[in-house]
Symmetry: C2
Subunit: 298 residues, 2 copies
């Protein structure tokens, strides 16, 4: 296959970043301290996996990319809020994120909490306002809000972070525990990103069902890979790396070991391909994306 | 007028609390630590001003109260999230709220932050899901989400909290500064509560315009009254009272003095009546509510 996934990702990432920059442009008016802090974290160089996945999924189902773009941006806002809060002293207490000092290190703890709160709140505002501007029907917009708030809320990402913090003190963490934790903490929003793109594109229910299973698998593979990268390249990833939460946190690496972790990534990538093959569309982009995520070096 | 506003408030408050209890019922399944923490703050006895105002407004415009109820509950969830975060050590560092220890004192700082995050996220989920169940059109649901996320986000409540924290260190706070701060920090969501009830009821644009001016005035009056109560009845209000943030925080009382603060409340109540009179409906409930808020003892 000659499809160049790295170029595809770079291109989409640039589109998303340009749009986020536009949404949070300073303009001539005096920028508030809060908005400086929001821009600082949101516009720092991230992988932008979730918005790229949302756009790739929309493209796979022949959707309108200009409709998916604000949804992709809103998803990146939700993701960024979760990073800012996860990094806080009372949570993971991290000093570095996306290659720069964490939000609370620069703006102070209270502003970091409030920047996260604002990003989360504003993300729903953006989906509705920009969605209507782009002629997404209000029915679809409501569907997107349920999808994303379910993925991010008390039965999704937030519960995953609670389990993650609990796993700090629990030394008997099993692979099943890790799977549950990561399906909630990172998997739920990754999966919702793919599904959101498909919903915007008007994909059929059975397509969305298979897409969800595809993205659950790549979400988990992504997290395992993250654990391996974090450990091997401490300091290079732009996170505090290795010293994540500074104590002996359970990860796939510590629980399964490197060899088994790598083979689990391979299994999950195969599984994701299986579900993708059940979708009767040209799934080249998504297939390459899954492959790329399992093999990436950072 | 023989209308008994205190009985009206008690009745509506009970309806809201019963509904919140139902939404967050434990049932037979094991309750998570996160949900315990959410229930703890959400179901503690609050004034429930915002949801009651939402219902009163819906009633004023002859709306369907069963449609407004989930919206009112979602507003109380947003308000509760803001209280949990405001009370955090890095913010107001309060020990008591609604007559009981603050969330972080009971569940720890990280869980308190996450409980707030979950309440905010889930509030948007609830509006859409319950709104659709109650046959609110998706157009109206989208309008409600824009209204509430604007009031709560980076140009509303969150920005107000940033200004409030800044006012700690700024000793030259003027009445204009306080007004701006409180219009954002408390006024925006109070005003949105009234407007939300009217939107659900299908009120006309010019009615909503006057209702907004009415509720901006009562929101400000409410805050000034709060400052006075906080100071005079330290310890009795269920907040840490008087020692709010422990240092010399600027309030209407410290900037204006008691006499001028009381006369400002009177002026604002008159102003709210003026706008109410421009609405061609039976506004007895809202008029009494405004009067009650200005005169309340706690």
């Amino acid at each position: 296959m000659n499809f160049q996934i790295d170029k595809y990702i770079s291109k989409k990432r640039a589109v998303v970043e340009k749009r986020l920059e536009k949404f949070f442009r300073t303009g001539n008016k005096r920028q508030s301290f809060l908005k400086d802090s929001i821009r600082y974290s949101l516009l720092a160089k991230g992988k932008r996996l979730r918005p790229v996945l949302c756009l790739a999924s929309c493209e796979t189902f022949n959707g309108n990319l200009s409709q998916a773009l604000p949804v992709a941006c809103a998803i990146e806002m939700i993701h960024t809020y979760s990073l800012i809060h996860d990094d806080l002293p009372s949570m993971d207490d991290d000093n570095l994120r996306r290659g720069v000092p964490t939000n609370h290190k620069v703006y102070g703890e209270s502003t970091a909490i409030l920047a996260g709160d604002a990003l989360l709140t504003d993300s729903f505002n953006l989906i509705v306002k920009e969605g209507i501007k782009k002629n997404i029907s209000t029915d679809i917009i409501c569907e997107l809000i349920v999808l994303l708030s379910t993925a991010a809320g008390s039965d999704g990402m937030v519960e995953g972070q609670v389990l993650d913090l609990e796993s700090d003190t629990n030394k008997n963490v099993t692979v099943a525990d890790l799977k549950k934790l990561h399906l909630l903490k990172t998997g739920a929003l990754i999966s919702a990103s793919a599904v959101a793109g498909a919903i915007v594109a008007g994909a059929k229910n059975d397509e969305i069902k298979n897409l969800k299973k595809f993205s659950d698998s790549i979400g988990l593979a992504f997290q395992i890979k993250d654990d391996l990268i974090d450990d091997n390249e401490a300091g290079k990833t732009g996170k505090s790396g290795g010293s994540d939460r500074k104590n002996n946190k359970s990860t796939y690496l510590t629980v399964l070991g490197k060899k088994k972790s790598l083979s689990l990534i391979e299994d999950l990538t195969k599984k994701s391909n299986y579900y993708l093959d059940r979708i009767d569309r040209n799934t080249t982009i998504l297939k390459n994306l899954a492959d790329y995520l399992g093999k990436r070096k950072r």
